[in-house]
Symmetry: C3
Subunit: 136 residues, 3 copies
Amino acid sequence: MITQTQLTLPALGRGFHIVTDDIVKALPNLPDQGILHLFMKHTSAGLCINENADPTVLEDFETLFNHLVPENFPNLKHTIEGPDDMPAHVKSVLCGDSVSIPITDGRLNLGTWQGIYYCEFRNQRHSRKIIATIYS
Amino acid sequence: MITQTQLTLPALGRGFHIVTDDIVKALPNLPDQGILHLFMKHTSAGLCINENADPTVLEDFETLFNHLVPENFPNLKHTIEGPDDMPAHVKSVLCGDSVSIPITDGRLNLGTWQGIYYCEFRNQRHSRKIIATIYS
Amino acid sequence: MITQTQLTLPALGRGFHIVTDDIVKALPNLPDQGILHLFMKHTSAGLCINENADPTVLEDFETLFNHLVPENFPNLKHTIEGPDDMPAHVKSVLCGDSVSIPITDGRLNLGTWQGIYYCEFRNQRHSRKIIATIYS
């Protein structure tokens, strides 16, 4: 069985944000067993799974992603929307635009230290839309 | 229900290419609701989703991926197939070898600016095979 | 139909390891057609798919991932667990925490040169848990 819902994330601004609770609250009842697929409908933000406990991890992710894909890199052509735009596209590919999480016993089967990250790579705040598909 | 098809991408040469239309044309009729999973059967090319409008984005992706994983990096061992080979393997992992896209109302539920990218990381042209699995 | 199993990977130590056979042996019988989803329940290790033949590829992956996300990067805050910890979190996002592989004719439909990689980014050996979900 397939169940699909569109969610809107809060406009949290540039950075890495843990949104596990926001997403779980917005979902319908989970089946006993299955998969949750979350898909970001945007090309300069991402979804991934990582450490859910220490807020400095989120800050270090921002630091290291900025190191990986620097702004104002020489010879870029797609610069009309500002220096954060093209790096945001590349970061979203590095991070990924979707996550698939097993559902077991009616709950997301995440590890103890795992949370769902919404990664915003643009300076300007945006409301981002996600399609949640549950198959069971 | 599961439907599976093997597709062959055109040999487009090194770079980032938007292949949304090629893929949609090669698929059977889409179900009302479900997921499309596309899987690249190769280790030096990738699939991802990004900006579908400005061709300079594709060029900047090439520039920034070459910056991320430089050719002729010191002390690499797997060099027999040329300086583009080992970077191509790493780029394919960074990019990802598959995408999963929600299907809603019988169509791919991509955002306005989203297209499917075929990312070729080798200098030599190759015909790349993809397995498309639709579950509904 | 959904079938779910929890697997434990051998504690192989830091590096990139091909675990295709370990995983296939631990799975129940595969259906004729479907998808295998493997999900790493940890935030400093990853799963991906790449070259399955030359062991030096695994060493070069380690070299290039260390180049991508250096240890002792200035101004990191999450350093209490050692210099390999925060880079491990970022590497696990770059690599990805899950893979989805088509199943065709009762077998994983991997390309000739594709194998499943378990990527361990911490110095200390860990036993890593994976949830395998087969849908058909």
